[in-house]
Symmetry: C2
C-alpha cells in the first residue's frame, strides 16, 4: 500500500485484498463485465452459474446450493435465516468473543459486539472459545477438542432445559476477533454431533479465513478433519478482493426448506469472483500461503526465544497470531505493549493490528501474495522494536507530581533510572540506553 | 438491454441502472479507482469525504452525517439500529404491504414479507397504506393526508396503551411494492408529528425512488412539503448504478447517540457514487425524468379512455403505476390480466413488471435516460395488446370436462364463441377475431 505521498507500506492485515491490492486480472475482469451488463441476479446470467460451479469444486459435494450477496454480513444473516427455516428452531450457540457482522441480527450473535451494546438475547447461548493457550483447557490437556466440545454440549443442554431449541452453532473456522485462535483439530466434528443431535445445523463462517489462506486446505474448516462437512458455509471479503460480493453455500436439504430470490450478486460480482479464483490457481497462492506462512512462523518462533513478551506464536498458513504477555506465569495480556508495537511498526511502514479480548494478539492476515522477503523484513523490524523496549511499562494517565512517580517506581523499578520522572508517560518507555524517548511527554 | 442473441429490449423497470445500463462515465470511474486502491472505509480517503459532501448538497442541511454501506438492505438495518439507539425505544410502525429489504431485521418490518414467513412480531405495528385509489380514504375525501396520518396516530396510541415504545416510523417515500402509491402531500409531516410526539424518528426509505426520479425534486420525500425533513434517509440501488453501494444520512443528534465504525463503502464505491451524481447533473436527468414522465402519464391517460381495464394512472416523474381493474365499480385488481400484459410486452421486447398487493399494478421505474420515443413505443404496444384482448378471462386451473366449461360460460359469456371450450385455459383469451390464440392449451 502507498499513502498519499507515495510512501510504501507492507500490508500484513488486509485479508480483503486477498490476491493482492488492485490485482490487474481482477480489475480487468470487473471492467470488462462492467462495460457489458451489470444488473441484479433476477436475470439469468452465465457468470452466476459459472461462479457457483467453480465454488462447488472447492467444497465437499454436499454443499451444492449457492446464494450470492453483497457482504459477509449479509451472508451470515442469510445463514441464520436458512438455519431457522430448516430446523424450525430459533436459538443460536456462538463462541465467546465472536464477531459475525455489523447487522442487527449479527450483533445479537456476536459477543464481541453485544456486550457493549444491547446485551445478550435470551435466544443466544455462548460457549467458551476453544483457546488452548489461555482458555480452561490448554496445551497440556490430553484432549482439548473433546473438552471444549463438551462445553458446547453443556451449553446446548442447559438451553434445552429452559425449553429453548437450537437452530444453529455459528463459528469462524478460525476465530479471528477472538485472538487468532486455532481450535484443536476434531473440535468441529464433535461440536457438530452435539448440535445436530439437538436439531441444529453447523455454520462455518469462512469470511476472514477461507479461500486458501490456511495453505494446507482451501477452506479452514477442513483443518478440522477431512470428512467434516458443515451444513452452511459463509464467505465474503476475500472472495471479491475488495469488490462487495459474498456467498452462502449449503446443502440441498437446507435450501429446499427455503424459498427466496432477489439476493445480491451480479454478472460483475461473479466475474470478479471468477477472476479471483483464476488468480488463486494460476499463481498457486494456496501453496504460497503454506510456505510463506511456515517461514514466518519459524522466524517468529526464533524471536520467542529472545523476547519473553512473545507468549505464543500460533497459526496456520497466512493466518498467524502473536500473543503478547506480561509474563509467562499469568499469561496476562500485554495490551498496551501490543498497541505500542503496532504504532512503532506503522512508523516503520508496516501495517499490523491487534485482536483478541485482551487486544494483545498481533494478527497477521496479509494479502496472499505476501513474500518471504516481506516476512523477513517485518520480523526484523519487530525484533528491533522489542529489543529497543526492554522495559515495557504500564500506561499512566494524568499523573500529578511526586506521589504518582513513586507509585510507578514501586511497580516498575527500572523507571527509577529515568531522568524525567516528573513527566507524563504515554505508552511505553523505549531506548536500549535506558533513556526515555518519544513516548514521554512534558507535564500538561 | 440485450439478450444473449443480441435482441434489443426496452427496459421500463430497472431503477438500479439509474443513469443507464453501463454508463461509460460510471464504468470508467470504477475502473480508474479499481486500478489505484480498493480497500475498506477504515482508511481515510478523499473519495469518501467528497461523496458525503456532494450528497449533503442534495439534502436538507440537518441531514449532514453519512454512513456508507453495500446495499439498501444494509442501509435500512443501520437506520433501525440508529433509531433504536437514539430513542432508547424498540418498536417500529410501518405501512401495510411495505418492503424494506431481505435481512432478518427488515423482513420483520416488511408486511409484504413477514405475512408469508415468520408472522408479525410484537414490536411491529402496521398502519394502512395511504392509497387514495383503493384504500379507505380516496380521491373524494376532503383531506386524505390528515385522515391517513390519523391512522398512524391511532396505531401509535394503541401500541403505547400496550406499554410499547415507538423507535421509528419507516416508509418508502413512494411505496413501490405497495403498488406504486403516491401518498397525498402533507401526509409525512403529519405522521412525523405523531411519531416524534411518541419519541420516535421518521425514516424515509429512498432506495427505489430517490435521486431525481420524481423529477420535481431530488428526493421523493420533498414531494411531501418543502420544509419536511426526515430524521434518517436511506439510499441504495440507483446511487451506484448497479455497483453495490448504499448510504444512510442522518442528523448530528441521531449520529451522536451512535458510535460505530467498519461499515461498507470504499474508494471505488464512492468513486462510482460520485460519477453517478456527475452524470445526473451533466445530462440533467432529473429535469429529463420530469418531462418524459409527464409525457408518459399523458399518453397513458389517453389509453385510459379507450380501455376500461386501466383503472388508475398515477405517479410522478419516472415513477408511474398503471392500476388494472376488473371493473370500475369494485376496482377489483385485474391480477391475471396484468400478468398477461407483462408477458405479452416481453414478447414485444419490452420489460415491465407488476406490483401491489393485487399484483395488478404495471410499474414503470425505468433508467432515467428513458426517452420520449421509448414512451411512445411502449404505450403503442400496450394499446395493441389491450385492443387485441377485449375479452379478458379468469384463469381456470385443472378443468375437467363439460361442467367446468359451463361454469366458465356462465361467468364469461363471450367465451361461448370459443370453438375450443373443452380446452384448458391458461391466462387470457386473445385475438380480435374472437379466436383463441396461444394462451389456450389442449386438455392435459
Amino acid at each position: 500500500m502507498y499513502d498519499e505521498e507515495g510512501t510504501e507500506y507492507i500490508d500484513c492485515i488486509n485479508n480483503v485484498a486477498h490476491v493482492g491490492h488492485c490485482h490487474p486480472l481482477v480489475v480487468q475482469a470487473a471492467h470488462e463485465q462492467n462495460q457489458v451488463l451489470n444488473t441484479n441476479s433476477r436475470y439469468l446470467h452465465d457468470n452466476i452459474v459459472d461462479y457457483a460451479q467453480r465454488l462447488s469444486e472447492t467444497l465437499p459435494e454436499k454443499l451444492c446450493v449457492f446464494y450470492f450477496l453483497n457482504s459477509g454480513s449479509e451472508a451470515n444473516d442469510l445463514a441464520l435465516r436458512l438455519a431457522r427455516q430448516y430446523t424450525g428452531h430459533w436459538d443460536v450457540v456462538v463462541l465467546d468473543h465472536a464477531y459475525h457482522g455489523h447487522l442487527s441480527s449479527l450483533i445479537d450473535i456476536s459477543p464481541y459486539k453485544f456486550r457493549d451494546l444491547d446485551g445478550q438475547k435470551e435466544w443466544v447461548h455462548v460457549a467458551p472459545l476453544p483457546d488452548t493457550y489461555r482458555g480452561p483447557y490448554r496445551e497440556d490437556h490430553p484432549n482439548p477438542a473433546v473438552a471444549y466440545a463438551s462445553e458446547v454440549k453443556r451449553v446446548v443442554s442447559s438451553a434445552q432445559e429452559k425449553g429453548r431449541k437450537i437452530a444453529a452453532f455459528f463459528a469462524e473456522s478460525l476465530p479471528s476477533v477472538g485472538g487468532q485462535i486455532v481450535p484443536p483439530a476434531g473440535y468441529f466434528p464433535e461440536v457438530a454431533e452435539h448440535v445436530r443431535r439437538a436439531g441444529g445445523v453447523f455454520v462455518a463462517d469462512e469470511i476472514q479465513v477461507g479461500f486458501g489462506r490456511v495453505g494446507r486446505h482451501f477452506w479452514a474448516f477442513q483443518l478440522q478433519g477431512e470428512d467434516f462437512v458443515p451444513d452452511i458455509v459463509t464467505m465474503g471479503k476475500s472472495i471479491g478482493n475488495g469488490h462487495p460480493v459474498a456467498c452462502v453455500a449449503t446443502t440441498q436439504a437446507v435450501a429446499r426448506a427455503f424459498e427466496a430470490t432477489g439476493f445480491g450478486g451480479s454478472p460483475v460480482s461473479c466475474a470478479v469472483g471468477l477472476a479471483v479464483l483464476d488468480v488463486l490457481e494460476k499463481e498457486q497462492l494456496q501453496a504460497h500461503a503454506a510456505s510463506v506462512g511456515s517461514f514466518l512462523m519459524e522466524l517468529l518462533g526464533q524471536q520467542k526465544a529472545k523476547h519473553p513478551i512473545l507468549g505464543d506464536i500460533r497459526g496456520v498458513g497466512l493466518f498467524i497470531g502473536v500473543d503478547l504477555i506480561k509474563d509467562e506465569a499469568t499469561r496476562m495480556p500485554a495490551t498496551e505493549e501490543a498497541d505500542y508495537v503496532v504504532s512503532r511498526l506503522k512508523e516503520n511502514h508496516i501495517l499490523l493490528s491487534t485482536d483478541g479480548p485482551g487486544k494483545n494478539v498481533l494478527k497477521f492476515k496479509p494479502p496472499m501474495c505476501f513474500t518471504l522477503d516481506n516476512a523477513r523484513l517485518v520480523v526484523a523490524k519487530l525484533d528491533a522494536i522489542l529489543t529497543g523496549s526492554h522495559r515495557l511499562h504500564q500506561k499512566v494517565e494524568n499523573p500529578t507530581g511526586e506521589d504518582r512517580c513513586s507509585k510507578v517506581l514501586q511497580t516498575h523499578a527500572t523507571l527509577g533510572q529515568c531522568p524525567h520522572w516528573g513527566w507524563r508517560l504515554r505508552g511505553i518507555l523505549t531506548g536500549a540506553d535506558n533513556s526515555v524517548q518519544q513516548d514521554v511527554f512534558p507535564p500538561s
